[in-house]
């Protein structure tokens, strides 16, 4: 069971001509702070860690007050018990991997539980690296050690500042499963900073959308991703509706996998996961086309009857259409089509999703863009 540790943040911080003003409430699991560079994500977690101090406001974790400008409480970073995985790893160059991993232990009174050490070492695949020097590690290995080092401090909260940003896509694909493992097997809540929407969709339960130092929206990833008004921030070309699905069958003859979600079935090219597995997948708006009548002869396998909920405001040559088919779906079509097919909010329409468009590489991540949520 995940411990529900509520994290309440309500802070202001002015830095030169940048102003961060954030009010955030989250709990357990993995919360992603998403936004462009310069949106204040890193400033925000620096403030939570105590490495930076807010001008005013409060930060509380559970019933522990870490910062309160009114009552002049400002707990030192070393006393906050918050782990921090930095973008560049920041391993101590004069210590070997094992000493890096155990660095925090000299400041902790209780002895290290050997089972916990083993678990973390195994979870992150660090066994064979223990005697190495940080300078001899690859980028991905360094990040895994950095994560292990933070976890072995037994933090009540783990901050991760774009831990994948400095890695190439192959290394990213190597680390992502480790982070998924942490999220699913450790009780520690994680605040994860990212400017890559694919990481957020794959990893996060809750998403906080930041822009120019302000919180634009926060909530479940599925909800935020289906909001058309947030599209300029969630990414115009890469984003789309996010669905939670379950694998119900594999079609070996045609090499397909059947997924189901709210009474619908969706066929996609085969993915190598067992039947019953829960996944989260994204259907990009540009891979969805619309028809006013039920298509009969079409190469497209996935056709859903849906209702038009919202048509994004005119202005460009393309329109985005939010559909409800029991789950949200977003389509991007030309504005010309919207007018010619006379689409209106409330109309019933047929949405076609091209199966071939949904594959492991459609995110350019080198991995799969679906995830296990169990």
């Amino acid at each position: 069971m995940q411990k529900k540790l509520y994290i309440n943040i309500d802070i202001k911080r002015k830095k030169d001509d940048f102003m961060l003003s954030a009010k955030i409430q989250t709990k357990g699991g993995l919360t992603a702070f998403f936004g462009r560079s310069g949106s204040g994500k890193t400033t925000l977690i620096d403030l939570i860690s105590g490495l930076d101090t807010p001008d005013s406001g409060t930060i509380t974790i559970g019933d522990q007050v870490l910062f309160d400008s009114e009552s002049r409480i400002n707990v030192a970073p070393e006393k906050r018990n918050i782990g921090y995985v930095f973008q560049e790893g920041r391993l101590f160059p004069h210590l070997n991997v094992k000493s890096n991993l155990l660095y925090a232990r000299r400041f902790i009174n209780t002895a290290l539980d050997p089972v916990m050490f083993k678990t973390i070492i195994n979870l992150l695949g660090l066994e064979h690296l223990l005697n190495r020097r940080p300078s001899t590690l690859s980028g991905g290995e360094k990040q895994r050690v950095a994560i292990g080092r933070a976890l072995l401090a037994e933090p009540q909260l783990l901050l991760m500042d774009e831990p994948l940003a400095s890695l190439d896509s192959e290394r990213k694909a190597e680390i992502l499963p480790f982070i998924e493992n942490l999220r699913d097997h450790l009780k520690t809540p994680i605040l994860y900073v990212s400017h890559a929407i694919d990481e957020v969709i794959r990893l996060a339960d809750i998403m906080v959308l930041l822009d120019h130092g302000s919180v634009i929206a926060q909530g479940e990833v599925e909800d935020l991703m289906s909001r058309l008004d947030l599209r300029p921030l969630t990414g115009r070309y890469e984003a789309g509706a996010v669905l939670s699905v379950q694998i119900t069958a594999h079609d070996t003859e045609y090499g397909l996998t059947e997924l189901s979600f709210s009474d619908h079935k969706l066929m996609i090219p085969h993915i190598d996961l067992p039947i019953g597995a829960h996944l989260r997948m994204r259907i990009r708006a540009r891979d969805v086309s619309l028809s006013t009548s039920k298509p009969i002869q079409t190469s497209i396998l996935n056709v859903f009857e849906a209702k038009i909920i919202e048509i994004s405001p005119d202005g460009s040559s393309q329109s985005e259409i939010l559909l409800d088919m029991g789950a949200p779906l977003i389509a991007r079509i030309t504005r010309k089509s919207v007018v010619e097919l006379n689409m209106k909010v409330g109309d019933t329409i047929y949405a076609m999703v091209k199966a071939a468009a949904i594959d492991r590489h459609s995110l350019g991540l080198g991995g799969t863009h679906v995830r296990q949520t169990n």
């Binding site: 490495l51 970073p77 906050r80 930095f86 920041r90 101590f92 160059p93 660095y103 933070a150």
Partner: protein, 229 residues
């Protein structure tokens, strides 16, 4: 064979004593000054920086004379030292150490400051988030990382102190057994009519000591750097 005379042994011992004391004073003060210059921002910082580096550019005689004025029995600091602690450093080996230390101080500060500026403060931040208080961050992260700079500073300071001449002779004079370090003994011999051989012997001794220090530091710094890479 090359057997040392009591005169030479005395000069060597005194030189090592003076340089050692100078080093002992320079290390903590140099660390503090380097820290302030590298990490703190305050009004008048460049003035402090200039002041610390003065001995590097001033003629040593000037420094020696200023010390004499300050620490002589009639000098402001000298009188205070005498009245409170009954200590006088003018014309004593302690004064020689002070002169040597002050002349070598900028070298110590520069070496430590350079390596301190190379330390990624991000590593120190990381240590804080792992539970280390600022004191422990300094001991477990900063200090090991500036070890090469400390070592360089130590060798430079030691060598500069061994060789200090101008400020020393002005401040504490050239008293055999008290303030007559190697360079001062060498100077005396060059002034004596039959001192050539003795002077040459001291030259060889100076070269051997300096070379030994340099080689030892080179070996040590290679070991440290291997640990850091």
């Amino acid at each position: 064979m090359f057997a040392l005379t009591p005169f030479e042994i005395g000069a060597i011992q005194l030189s090592l004593k003076v340089a050692g004391l100078a080093l002992l004073g320079c290390l903590p003060m140099g660390l503090l000054a380097a820290w302030v210059l590298a990490r703190c921002d305050f009004y008048g910082k460049s003035l402090l920086n200039g002041f610390i580096h003065l001995p590097l550019v001033l003629p040593p005689v000037v420094v020696g004379y200023l010390l004499l004025v300050l620490f002589g029995k009639q000098g402001a600091l000298g009188r205070w030292l005498w009245e409170t602690f009954e200590v006088s450093i003018a014309f004593s080996w302690k004064g020689a150490a002070v002169a040597a230390g002050i002349m070598a101080f900028p070298l110590m500060v520069r070496s430590i400051r350079l390596s301190l500026e190379l330390v990624d403060t991000g590593l120190e931040d990381a240590a804080r988030t792992l539970g280390a208080s600022p004191k422990w961050v300094f001991i477990t992260i900063t200090l090991p990382l500036i070890l090469p700079g400390l070592l360089t500073g130590t060798i430079l300071t030691f060598a500069r102190s061994l060789g200090e001449f101008g400020a020393t002779i002005t401040f504490v004079s050239n008293i055999p057994g008290e303030t007559q370090t190697l360079p001062l003994a060498l100077y005396r011999l060059t002034q004596a009519p039959d001192g050539d051989l003795g002077a040459l012997r001291l030259v060889v001794i100076s070269v051997v000591i300096s070379l030994a220090a340099l080689i030892a530091s080179e070996a040590l710094s290679r070991r440290i750097n291997n640990r850091l890479r």
